[in-house]
Protein backbone atom coordinates (compact mmCIF):
# COMPACT_ATOMS: atom_id res chain seq x y z
CA UNK A 1 0.00 0.00 0.00
CA UNK A 2 1.38 3.41 -0.93
CA UNK A 3 1.92 6.40 1.38
CA UNK A 4 -0.88 8.29 -0.39
CA UNK A 5 -3.37 5.55 0.40
CA UNK A 6 -2.18 5.63 4.01
CA UNK A 7 -2.72 9.39 4.15
CA UNK A 8 -6.21 9.24 2.60
CA UNK A 9 -7.20 6.36 4.87
CA UNK A 10 -5.98 8.19 7.97
CA UNK A 11 -7.80 11.34 6.90
CA UNK A 12 -11.00 9.31 6.62
CA UNK A 13 -10.32 7.80 10.05
CA UNK A 14 -10.39 4.33 8.49
CA UNK A 15 -9.40 1.99 11.33
CA UNK A 16 -8.07 -0.70 8.97
CA UNK A 17 -5.71 1.75 7.32
CA UNK A 18 -4.75 3.14 10.71
CA UNK A 19 -3.83 -0.39 11.79
CA UNK A 20 -1.76 -0.83 8.64
CA UNK A 21 0.03 2.46 9.30
CA UNK A 22 0.71 1.33 12.84
CA UNK A 23 2.09 -2.02 11.70
CA UNK A 24 4.29 -0.36 9.08
CA UNK A 25 5.81 2.40 11.19
CA UNK A 26 5.51 1.17 14.79
CA UNK A 27 8.97 -0.53 14.89
CA UNK A 28 10.75 2.66 13.78
CA UNK A 29 8.66 4.87 16.03
CA UNK A 30 9.20 2.59 19.00
CA UNK A 31 12.94 2.46 18.18
CA UNK A 32 13.17 6.24 18.35
CA UNK A 33 11.22 6.35 21.58
CA UNK A 34 13.51 3.74 23.12
CA UNK A 35 16.56 5.81 22.21
CA UNK A 36 15.19 8.82 24.06
CA UNK A 37 13.32 7.32 26.98
CA UNK A 38 14.94 5.40 29.79
CA UNK A 39 12.53 2.48 30.03
CA UNK A 40 10.25 0.50 27.71
CA UNK A 41 7.03 1.56 29.40
CA UNK A 42 7.69 5.21 28.83
CA UNK A 43 8.89 4.46 25.31
CA UNK A 44 5.59 2.66 24.60
CA UNK A 45 3.67 5.57 26.05
CA UNK A 46 5.50 7.93 23.71
CA UNK A 47 4.87 5.62 20.74
CA UNK A 48 1.17 5.65 21.59
CA UNK A 49 1.16 9.47 21.81
CA UNK A 50 2.91 9.59 18.45
CA UNK A 51 0.29 7.46 16.67
CA UNK A 52 -2.58 9.30 18.31
CA UNK A 53 -1.14 12.59 17.07
CA UNK A 54 -0.61 11.10 13.60
CA UNK A 55 -4.20 9.85 13.34
CA UNK A 56 -5.69 13.07 14.69
CA UNK A 57 -3.58 15.47 12.65
CA UNK A 58 -3.20 13.73 9.30
CA UNK A 59 -5.08 16.66 7.75
CA UNK A 60 -2.17 18.89 8.74
CA UNK A 61 0.33 16.80 6.80
CA UNK A 62 1.72 18.77 3.88
CA UNK A 63 3.21 16.79 1.04
CA UNK A 64 6.59 18.53 1.32
CA UNK A 65 8.27 15.37 2.61
CA UNK A 66 7.55 11.70 3.13
CA UNK A 67 4.74 10.53 5.39
CA UNK A 68 7.24 8.32 7.20
CA UNK A 69 9.56 11.28 7.88
CA UNK A 70 6.59 13.24 9.24
CA UNK A 71 5.63 10.40 11.60
CA UNK A 72 9.19 10.00 12.85
CA UNK A 73 9.49 13.75 13.46
CA UNK A 74 6.32 13.55 15.53
CA UNK A 75 7.87 10.67 17.51
CA UNK A 76 11.01 12.72 18.28
CA UNK A 77 8.95 15.76 19.25
CA UNK A 78 6.69 13.69 21.50
CA UNK A 79 9.73 12.37 23.37
CA UNK A 80 11.32 15.81 23.61
CA UNK A 81 8.10 17.34 24.94
CA UNK A 82 8.10 14.78 27.71
CA UNK A 83 11.83 15.01 28.48
CA UNK A 84 12.08 18.80 28.29
CA UNK A 85 9.98 19.11 31.44
CA UNK A 86 12.19 16.87 33.56
CA UNK A 87 15.70 17.07 32.17
CA UNK A 88 18.26 19.53 33.42
CA UNK A 89 20.63 20.14 30.52
CA UNK A 90 22.86 22.44 32.55
CA UNK A 91 24.34 19.59 34.61
CA UNK A 92 28.03 19.04 33.92
CA UNK A 93 29.79 15.78 34.56
CA UNK A 94 33.54 15.32 35.15
CA UNK A 95 35.15 13.24 32.44
CA UNK A 96 37.32 11.46 35.01
CA UNK A 97 34.25 9.72 36.40
CA UNK A 98 33.39 8.30 33.04
CA UNK A 99 34.46 4.77 33.62
CA UNK A 100 33.36 2.96 36.69
CA UNK A 101 33.75 -0.68 37.62
CA UNK A 102 30.00 -1.17 37.14
CA UNK A 103 30.24 0.11 33.59
CA UNK A 104 33.10 -2.24 32.91
CA UNK A 105 30.96 -5.12 34.04
CA UNK A 106 28.10 -3.94 31.84
CA UNK A 107 30.37 -3.50 28.88
CA UNK A 108 31.74 -6.95 29.37
CA UNK A 109 28.33 -8.40 28.72
CA UNK A 110 27.56 -6.21 25.71
CA UNK A 111 26.96 -7.43 22.23
CA UNK A 112 28.43 -5.54 19.29
CA UNK A 113 24.97 -4.32 18.27
CA UNK A 114 23.77 -3.57 21.78
CA UNK A 115 24.15 0.16 21.38
CA UNK A 116 20.88 0.62 23.25
CA UNK A 117 22.60 -0.28 26.53
CA UNK A 118 25.65 1.83 25.61
CA UNK A 119 23.43 4.86 25.22
CA UNK A 120 21.68 4.08 28.47
CA UNK A 121 25.03 4.63 30.23
CA UNK A 122 24.88 8.30 29.26
CA UNK A 123 23.19 10.89 31.50
CA UNK A 124 19.76 11.90 30.13
CA UNK A 125 20.76 15.36 28.83
CA UNK A 126 23.83 14.07 27.04
CA UNK A 127 21.91 11.14 25.56
CA UNK A 128 19.16 13.37 24.18
CA UNK A 129 21.62 15.75 22.55
CA UNK A 130 23.73 12.89 21.17
CA UNK A 131 20.57 11.36 19.67
CA UNK A 132 19.46 14.65 18.14
CA UNK A 133 22.87 15.51 16.73
CA UNK A 134 24.14 12.10 15.57
CA UNK A 135 21.01 10.03 14.88
CA UNK A 136 18.56 12.74 13.74
CA UNK A 137 21.15 15.03 12.22
CA UNK A 138 20.07 18.29 13.86
CA UNK A 139 22.49 21.22 14.14
CA UNK A 140 23.42 22.74 17.49
CA UNK A 141 21.35 25.84 16.75
CA UNK A 142 18.30 23.68 16.03
CA UNK A 143 18.87 21.59 19.16
CA UNK A 144 19.21 24.75 21.23
CA UNK A 145 15.95 26.05 19.82
CA UNK A 146 14.10 22.76 20.33
CA UNK A 147 15.24 22.26 23.91
CA UNK A 148 15.27 25.94 24.83
CA UNK A 149 18.93 25.83 25.83
CA UNK A 150 22.03 27.67 24.61
CA UNK A 151 24.15 26.38 21.75
CA UNK A 152 27.08 26.19 24.18
CA UNK A 153 25.16 23.81 26.44
CA UNK A 154 24.28 21.66 23.45
CA UNK A 155 27.94 21.53 22.38
CA UNK A 156 29.29 20.72 25.83
CA UNK A 157 26.71 17.98 26.37
CA UNK A 158 27.56 16.46 22.98
CA UNK A 159 31.23 16.65 23.81
CA UNK A 160 30.68 14.83 27.07
CA UNK A 161 28.54 12.15 25.32
CA UNK A 162 31.22 11.67 22.65
CA UNK A 163 34.07 11.25 25.10
CA UNK A 164 32.13 8.86 27.26
CA UNK A 165 30.94 6.76 24.34
CA UNK A 166 34.48 6.64 22.91
CA UNK A 167 35.71 5.20 26.17
CA UNK A 168 32.80 2.77 26.31
CA UNK A 169 33.48 1.59 22.79
CA UNK A 170 37.22 1.29 23.56
CA UNK A 171 36.49 -0.78 26.65
CA UNK A 172 34.11 -2.87 24.58
CA UNK A 173 36.75 -3.42 21.92
CA UNK A 174 39.43 -4.31 24.51
CA UNK A 175 37.17 -6.82 26.16
CA UNK A 176 36.42 -8.26 22.78
CA UNK A 177 40.12 -8.57 21.94
CA UNK A 178 40.75 -10.27 25.27
CA UNK A 179 37.89 -12.64 24.58
CA UNK A 180 39.30 -13.55 21.17
CA UNK A 181 42.82 -13.90 22.66
CA UNK A 182 41.74 -16.59 25.07
Amino acid sequence: MSENEFIIGCQKQDSKIQNLVYKTYAPKVFGICKRYMKDRERAEEMAMNTFLTVFQKTNQFKNDGSFEGWILRIAVNSCLMELRKKTNFENEYPLEALQSTIENEVLGNLDENDIEKMLQLLPEGARIIFNLYVMEGYKHSEIAEKLNISEGTSKSQLNYAKEKLKKIVAVFNQSKIKEYGR
Partner: protein, 253 residues
Protein backbone atom coordinates in the same frame (compact mmCIF):
# COMPACT_ATOMS: atom_id res chain seq x y z
CA UNK B 1 38.75 7.00 17.87
CA UNK B 2 37.66 9.85 15.66
CA UNK B 3 34.31 11.56 16.10
CA UNK B 4 33.19 10.42 12.64
CA UNK B 5 33.99 6.81 13.47
CA UNK B 6 31.99 7.02 16.65
CA UNK B 7 29.03 8.63 14.89
CA UNK B 8 29.10 6.02 12.14
CA UNK B 9 29.35 3.26 14.74
CA UNK B 10 26.08 4.36 16.29
CA UNK B 11 24.35 5.43 13.08
CA UNK B 12 24.97 2.12 11.39
CA UNK B 13 23.60 0.24 14.32
CA UNK B 14 20.57 2.47 14.91
CA UNK B 15 18.28 -0.11 13.29
CA UNK B 16 19.00 -2.36 16.25
CA UNK B 17 16.56 -0.19 18.23
CA UNK B 18 13.68 -1.03 15.90
CA UNK B 19 11.24 -3.38 17.47
CA UNK B 20 7.55 -4.06 17.20
CA UNK B 21 5.82 -2.87 20.36
CA UNK B 22 3.52 -5.17 22.28
CA UNK B 23 0.05 -6.05 20.94
CA UNK B 24 -1.55 -4.23 23.84
CA UNK B 25 -0.25 -0.93 22.52
CA UNK B 26 -2.46 -1.03 19.42
CA UNK B 27 -5.48 -1.81 21.58
CA UNK B 28 -4.65 1.18 23.76
CA UNK B 29 -4.31 3.40 20.70
CA UNK B 30 -7.63 2.17 19.32
CA UNK B 31 -9.41 2.80 22.63
CA UNK B 32 -7.99 6.32 22.73
CA UNK B 33 -9.06 7.00 19.13
CA UNK B 34 -12.63 5.87 19.89
CA UNK B 35 -12.69 7.96 23.05
CA UNK B 36 -11.49 11.06 21.23
CA UNK B 37 -14.05 10.44 18.45
CA UNK B 38 -16.91 10.25 20.93
CA UNK B 39 -15.53 13.29 22.78
CA UNK B 40 -15.39 15.22 19.53
CA UNK B 41 -18.93 14.16 18.67
CA UNK B 42 -20.13 14.99 22.16
CA UNK B 43 -18.46 18.39 22.17
CA UNK B 44 -19.82 19.14 18.68
CA UNK B 45 -23.35 18.18 19.70
CA UNK B 46 -22.89 20.12 22.93
CA UNK B 47 -21.91 23.23 20.97
CA UNK B 48 -24.92 22.80 18.66
CA UNK B 49 -27.33 22.35 21.58
CA UNK B 50 -25.83 25.31 23.40
CA UNK B 51 -26.05 27.57 20.37
CA UNK B 52 -29.67 26.50 19.74
CA UNK B 53 -30.48 27.25 23.39
CA UNK B 54 -28.82 30.66 23.21
CA UNK B 55 -30.66 31.47 19.98
CA UNK B 56 -33.99 30.36 21.44
CA UNK B 57 -33.40 32.42 24.58
CA UNK B 58 -32.54 35.45 22.50
CA UNK B 59 -35.67 35.03 20.37
CA UNK B 60 -37.88 34.62 23.43
CA UNK B 61 -36.23 37.69 24.95
CA UNK B 62 -36.88 39.76 21.84
CA UNK B 63 -40.50 38.51 21.69
CA UNK B 64 -41.14 39.36 25.34
CA UNK B 65 -39.48 42.77 24.98
CA UNK B 66 -41.54 43.59 21.88
CA UNK B 67 -44.78 42.54 23.59
CA UNK B 68 -43.90 44.46 26.71
CA UNK B 69 -43.10 47.59 24.71
CA UNK B 70 -46.34 47.36 22.73
CA UNK B 71 -48.43 46.88 25.87
CA UNK B 72 -46.74 49.88 27.49
CA UNK B 73 -47.50 52.00 24.41
CA UNK B 74 -51.11 50.85 24.45
CA UNK B 75 -51.40 51.52 28.15
CA UNK B 76 -49.88 54.96 27.67
CA UNK B 77 -52.58 56.06 25.25
CA UNK B 78 -55.79 54.06 25.40
CA UNK B 79 -56.32 53.21 29.07
CA UNK B 80 -55.80 56.83 30.06
CA UNK B 81 -58.28 57.95 27.47
CA UNK B 82 -60.78 55.43 28.82
CA UNK B 83 -60.10 56.58 32.33
CA UNK B 84 -60.65 60.15 31.33
CA UNK B 85 -63.86 59.33 29.52
CA UNK B 86 -65.18 57.15 32.30
CA UNK B 87 -64.10 59.08 35.32
CA UNK B 88 -64.89 62.73 34.60
CA UNK B 89 -68.49 63.71 34.98
CA UNK B 90 -68.54 63.17 38.73
CA UNK B 91 -65.04 64.59 39.35
CA UNK B 92 -65.45 67.44 36.90
CA UNK B 93 -68.87 68.39 38.20
CA UNK B 94 -67.54 68.25 41.73
CA UNK B 95 -64.69 70.58 40.77
CA UNK B 96 -67.09 72.89 38.97
CA UNK B 97 -69.42 72.99 41.95
CA UNK B 98 -66.47 73.68 44.25
CA UNK B 99 -65.37 76.54 42.01
CA UNK B 100 -68.91 77.90 41.97
CA UNK B 101 -69.17 77.86 45.73
CA UNK B 102 -65.78 79.54 46.02
CA UNK B 103 -66.88 82.14 43.50
CA UNK B 104 -70.08 82.84 45.36
CA UNK B 105 -68.22 83.02 48.65
CA UNK B 106 -65.77 85.46 47.15
CA UNK B 107 -68.56 87.61 45.76
CA UNK B 108 -70.48 87.69 49.03
CA UNK B 109 -67.39 88.25 51.15
CA UNK B 110 -67.09 92.04 51.32
CA UNK B 111 -64.17 92.12 53.69
CA UNK B 112 -61.72 90.38 51.42
CA UNK B 113 -60.66 91.74 48.03
CA UNK B 114 -62.28 89.98 45.10
CA UNK B 115 -59.05 89.56 43.19
CA UNK B 116 -58.75 85.98 44.39
CA UNK B 117 -61.32 84.91 41.81
CA UNK B 118 -60.92 87.48 39.10
CA UNK B 119 -59.77 84.78 36.74
CA UNK B 120 -60.61 81.24 37.70
CA UNK B 121 -57.69 78.93 37.10
CA UNK B 122 -59.77 76.08 35.77
CA UNK B 123 -62.83 76.51 33.62
CA UNK B 124 -64.69 73.35 32.92
CA UNK B 125 -68.02 72.96 31.26
CA UNK B 126 -70.40 70.63 33.03
CA UNK B 127 -70.90 68.35 30.05
CA UNK B 128 -67.21 67.92 29.31
CA UNK B 129 -64.45 66.35 31.29
CA UNK B 130 -61.20 67.21 33.04
CA UNK B 131 -57.81 66.37 31.68
CA UNK B 132 -55.36 66.44 34.51
CA UNK B 133 -52.14 68.27 33.86
CA UNK B 134 -49.88 65.37 34.73
CA UNK B 135 -51.65 63.22 32.16
CA UNK B 136 -51.45 65.75 29.41
CA UNK B 137 -47.89 65.01 28.23
CA UNK B 138 -48.85 61.38 27.75
CA UNK B 139 -51.68 62.30 25.44
CA UNK B 140 -51.13 63.53 21.94
CA UNK B 141 -53.56 65.87 20.23
CA UNK B 142 -55.02 62.91 18.37
CA UNK B 143 -55.72 61.13 21.64
CA UNK B 144 -57.47 64.22 22.99
CA UNK B 145 -59.51 64.50 19.85
CA UNK B 146 -60.80 60.98 20.30
CA UNK B 147 -62.77 62.36 23.22
CA UNK B 148 -64.25 65.21 21.21
CA UNK B 149 -66.04 63.06 18.70
CA UNK B 150 -68.33 65.92 17.58
CA UNK B 151 -65.58 67.60 15.60
CA UNK B 152 -66.29 67.89 11.89
CA UNK B 153 -64.03 69.61 9.38
CA UNK B 154 -66.99 70.84 7.36
CA UNK B 155 -68.14 72.77 10.41
CA UNK B 156 -65.14 75.04 9.97
CA UNK B 157 -66.69 77.75 7.85
CA UNK B 158 -64.17 80.46 8.12
CA UNK B 159 -64.33 83.67 6.19
CA UNK B 160 -60.95 84.70 4.97
CA UNK B 161 -59.40 87.96 6.06
CA UNK B 162 -58.48 89.65 2.77
CA UNK B 163 -55.51 91.96 2.72
CA UNK B 164 -54.56 92.88 -0.85
CA UNK B 165 -53.54 89.71 -2.55
CA UNK B 166 -53.41 87.79 0.76
CA UNK B 167 -56.19 85.58 2.06
CA UNK B 168 -55.90 84.61 5.72
CA UNK B 169 -57.91 81.64 7.02
CA UNK B 170 -57.57 81.33 10.75
CA UNK B 171 -59.29 79.16 13.32
CA UNK B 172 -58.71 79.17 17.04
CA UNK B 173 -59.90 75.63 17.29
CA UNK B 174 -57.27 73.06 18.27
CA UNK B 175 -56.66 70.82 15.25
CA UNK B 176 -54.70 67.63 14.93
CA UNK B 177 -52.15 67.48 12.10
CA UNK B 178 -54.54 65.29 10.10
CA UNK B 179 -57.42 67.66 10.65
CA UNK B 180 -55.23 70.60 9.78
CA UNK B 181 -54.21 68.88 6.55
CA UNK B 182 -57.84 68.29 5.56
CA UNK B 183 -58.63 71.86 6.54
CA UNK B 184 -55.80 73.09 4.30
CA UNK B 185 -57.02 70.87 1.49
CA UNK B 186 -60.52 72.22 1.88
CA UNK B 187 -59.29 75.82 1.79
CA UNK B 188 -57.11 75.13 -1.23
CA UNK B 189 -60.04 73.57 -3.06
CA UNK B 190 -62.15 76.63 -2.35
CA UNK B 191 -59.45 79.06 -3.45
CA UNK B 192 -58.02 77.18 -6.41
CA UNK B 193 -59.26 79.82 -8.88
CA UNK B 194 -57.78 82.75 -6.93
CA UNK B 195 -54.71 82.85 -9.18
CA UNK B 196 -51.77 84.73 -7.75
CA UNK B 197 -53.30 85.03 -4.29
CA UNK B 198 -51.23 84.16 -1.21
CA UNK B 199 -53.20 81.72 0.94
CA UNK B 200 -52.29 81.69 4.63
CA UNK B 201 -53.94 79.10 6.87
CA UNK B 202 -53.50 79.17 10.63
CA UNK B 203 -54.83 76.81 13.26
CA UNK B 204 -54.01 76.30 16.90
CA UNK B 205 -51.36 73.67 17.48
CA UNK B 206 -50.10 73.71 13.86
CA UNK B 207 -47.55 75.60 11.84
CA UNK B 208 -49.12 78.24 9.57
CA UNK B 209 -49.53 77.11 5.99
CA UNK B 210 -48.64 79.48 3.13
CA UNK B 211 -49.08 78.97 -0.58
CA UNK B 212 -49.49 81.12 -3.66
CA UNK B 213 -52.17 79.92 -6.06
CA UNK B 214 -50.28 79.49 -9.29
CA UNK B 215 -51.54 80.45 -12.68
CA UNK B 216 -52.04 77.52 -15.00
CA UNK B 217 -49.20 77.40 -17.53
CA UNK B 218 -51.34 76.75 -20.60
CA UNK B 219 -55.06 76.79 -21.12
CA UNK B 220 -56.30 75.85 -24.53
CA UNK B 221 -59.34 77.73 -25.67
CA UNK B 222 -61.80 76.25 -28.13
CA UNK B 223 -61.68 78.01 -31.49
CA UNK B 224 -65.29 79.12 -31.51
CA UNK B 225 -65.40 80.82 -28.11
CA UNK B 226 -62.97 83.67 -28.82
CA UNK B 227 -63.05 86.07 -31.75
CA UNK B 228 -60.39 88.73 -32.22
CA UNK B 229 -61.78 92.31 -32.23
CA UNK B 230 -59.31 93.49 -34.84
CA UNK B 231 -60.87 93.14 -38.27
CA UNK B 232 -58.33 94.68 -40.59
CA UNK B 233 -55.66 92.09 -40.04
CA UNK B 234 -56.34 88.50 -40.61
CA UNK B 235 -55.59 86.73 -37.37
CA UNK B 236 -55.49 83.01 -37.22
CA UNK B 237 -57.13 81.40 -34.19
CA UNK B 238 -55.32 78.20 -34.79
CA UNK B 239 -52.76 78.55 -32.04
CA UNK B 240 -54.58 80.88 -29.70
CA UNK B 241 -53.92 80.25 -26.07
CA UNK B 242 -53.89 81.89 -22.71
CA UNK B 243 -50.50 82.33 -21.12
CA UNK B 244 -50.87 83.73 -17.62
CA UNK B 245 -53.43 86.45 -18.05
CA UNK B 246 -52.90 87.25 -21.75
CA UNK B 247 -54.35 85.81 -24.92
CA UNK B 248 -51.96 85.39 -27.81
CA UNK B 249 -52.78 85.07 -31.47
CA UNK B 250 -50.47 84.20 -34.28
CA UNK B 251 -50.56 86.26 -37.45
CA UNK B 252 -48.94 85.73 -40.82
CA UNK B 253 -48.36 89.44 -41.27
Amino acid sequence: MEDKELFDFFKNRSTSFEEMPSEALWNKIQTNIEASKSTTFFSASKIIILSVLVLATALIGVFIYTNFKTSIEEKTIHPNVNEIIEQPSSTASRIVSEIDTLKKRAETDTLKPKKAFKKPIVTVKKDTFMVFKKLQPLLKTDALKVIDSKFDIDSLKIKPLVKGNRLLFETKQLLTPIEFDSFVQKVLDETKTNYGALIVIKAKGNKPFRQIVKFPEKISIPKSTIQPIHTTTKLIMKDSMIVSDSIYFNTKK
